[in-house]
Amino acid sequence: MIGSALGVLFDGIAYGSLLFVISIGLSVTMGLMNFVNLAHGAFAMLGGYTCVMLMSKAGVPFLATLPVAFVVAAAAGIVLERTLYVRLYKAPPLDQVMFSIGLVFMAIAATTYFFGPSQQPVRLPDFLRGQVQVFGIGLGAYRMFLIAVVAAITVALHLLLVKTRFGAQVRASVDNAVASAGLGINVNRVFGVTFALGSGLAGLGGGLGIDVLGLDPTFPFKYIVYFLLVVAIGGAGTIKGGLVAAMILGICDVAGKYYIPQVGSFIIYFLMVLLMILYPAGLYGRRS
């Protein structure tokens, strides 16, 4: 009984970790520039397809494809940010939503055209497959790997934002963009770099997630609700909020499906309603 509860907790944390990596970029862009970027999942999908193609066409090992997924998605992010997104920063939210949802449709159509509509397979290296017995509980090796990677990313992000000059600029810009610009911070450049970082993390998450979330052209739509939930519950613009929200969602989703499968997939939505009533600005939201 306790064994299965720990197993559920472990799976939930792993699932939450994945949601965190993919969504954190969205949270930062929404908090920083108030830009509602519904196309965020498309960057995750790009990362996923980068991994799959490198593995199947070029024979690159799985672990080596992950940094490439990050770089490719970040590069795509910076190109799109400089050419398209930058034009819409001052636009009303509806325009931003229409624009980014249009991008999603284009991404889906293009992916279907080039790679076909079906699920993409991923071959994990042998040491990441199967289960490891820890105190008599079977833990998925890949999920342990996921948790470790996300822990490392979280620490790195934290250090980046708290200990570096760039981090200080990001925090200042999130708090008050106008005042920061007045103090000589190039808010646009900070935002461009942050956007690329967020897209890159989404790409990395997409690559990491193929084994758990699957990968097909409808990926950006399938999970958009989850990404937005993380941002809404955590509060836009905070790393801590995103992390806590992703963990809550991951654990409750898995636990709900395990213990009460009849209503399992409904639980996270109920949770969202409840949390949004209690914390309208998100758990760690800055705006009231």
């Binding site: 197993g7 509509p117 079906s118 289960q131 052209p217 636990a255 499906k257 499968p261």
Partner: protein
């Protein structure tokens, strides 16, 4: 509200008049009239593989059997309904009837989509060939529906019997929460219980489901002898992956179900984890017959990298049925074509099949298969067959 969005009374009257004209005057077909087949399929979205398989098969049929039959030129009109929007399917069906003046409606990837189009077929008196959707009640929705695919009770009943006879006592059932899933679950639970088995739990997963892990963990902890699974074809990959990762196979749990979970379209992608799964289904790309060997070779040649799956033969046989009906009734109207189809028998790549004159549904052999590695690739190898299984699944 902006008044320009409201249709004017005149427009409405015009539309009504056009609709009335379209149905009131009988259309006379002359020998030179083209035979227009309106294919409505999901070509994008999560069920796009169904659309691609069926279109590929229909086009292949045209290539190999000529693009004219009984002196009539055959035209395929293919439209995408995206798989998730019944109202779109209905609208496309209406457009095809009124504007394109099609002779036959065909395709229909999912049950709700077939339901949506059924009234259009009845109204326009046009034969509607259901090639993919598998819920049993579909042909009852219109006297013009004829099915060339399969029904889920048909594909589920044999494996329920096999399980009961092969020392499987306790089963955990996992199906997707939509009409075909309910059909499959009901058939399995009833037949397996009737044969003396026990269902530990019957769980339904949402149609759009990100993560099967918790459901499969629950199945594992239930310590069942076997896990019964029905999911729409593309989802098999995700289920098999968790089945493997959680080590359900190592605990001795067998995976059984209708063949959708080991769909030939994705079986190569699933790879080794699929080995040992026992399923029952009307078609396997590995079916051992000259007709099927020729079919698989031609499909693979025309579509590199694609292995034909069970939906594709639904399309192939749908075309065959239309061709044969038109040969019997070269200028027949919808009613006459449906009459010509009733009771028709032929040998398909899947084996012998016929259209039941009473239900307009398909009666066919259903095979038990085990997934095995052959020359480094997984195939569903048939090891037993049930002859002439009825749409209700009665063996």
């Amino acid at each position: 509200m902006n008044p320009s969005f409201l249709p004017s009374r005149r427009k409405v009257l015009q539309g009504l008049g056009a609709a009335a004209a379209a149905t009131a005057f009988p259309r006379y077909a002359y020998a030179a009239d083209p035979l227009k087949i309106g294919l409505i399929l999901p070509m994008t979205g999560p069920f796009a593989s169904t659309g691609r398989q069926i279109t590929a098969a229909c086009k292949l049929y045209l290539q190999t059997h000529g693009d004219s039959v009984a002196g009539r030129k055959v035209e395929l009109i293919i439209k995408d309904d995206t798989g998730l929007a019944p109202e779109t399917t209905k609208r496309i069906a209406q457009e095809m009837v009124v504007q394109d003046r099609i002779t036959v409606l065909a395709g229909f990837g999912l049950t709700p989509l077939a339901f949506a189009a059924a009234p259009v077929a009845t109204e326009a008196k046009v034969p509607m060939i259901v090639m993919a959707a598998g819920t049993e009640v579909i042909p009852q929705r219109s006297p013009f529906i004829v099915r060339t695919g399969f029904t889920l009770p048909q594909n589920t009943a044999p494996v329920a019997l096999w399980a009961a006879q092969n020392n499987i006592k306790r089963v955990f059932s996992l199906v997707t929460d939509y009409a075909p899933g309910h059909d499959s679950e009901k058939t399995f639970v009833n037949r397996f219980k009737a044969a003396g088995g026990t269902i530990i739990e019957a769980v339904r997963t949402p149609l759009r489901n990100p993560d099967y892990a918790p459901f499969l963990q629950r199945a594992k902890d239930s310590k069942a002898d076997a896990l019964f699974v029905f999911v729409p074809s593309g989802e098999g990959l995700a289920v098999m992956k968790q089945f493997e990762e959680r080590g359900l196979k190592q605990t001795g749990m067998k995976m059984i179900g209708p063949g959708d979970v080991v769909d030939d379209d994705i079986l190569v992608s699933i790879g080794a984890p699929a080995v040992g799964v026992i399923t029952s289904m009307h078609y396997s790309a590995a079916h051992d017959s000259p007709e099927n060997k020729a079919y698989v070779a031609a499909m693979t040649k025309a579509n590199p990298g694609m292995r034909p799956n069970f939906h594709s033969v639904g399309g192939w046989d749908g075309m065959h049925l239309i061709y044969e009906a038109v040969k019997k009734q070269p200028n027949g109207n919808g009613q006459q074509l449906v009459e010509a189809m009733k009771g028709m028998k032929w040998t398909s790549p899947r084996g012998p099949m016929m259209i039941d004159p009473a239900t307009r549904d398909v009666i066919q052999n259903v095979y038990l298969r085990e997934t095995r590695m052959v020359n480094g690739e997984p195939w569903n190898i048939e090891f037993a067959k049930f002859e002439n299984v009825k749409p209700s699944g009665d063996l």
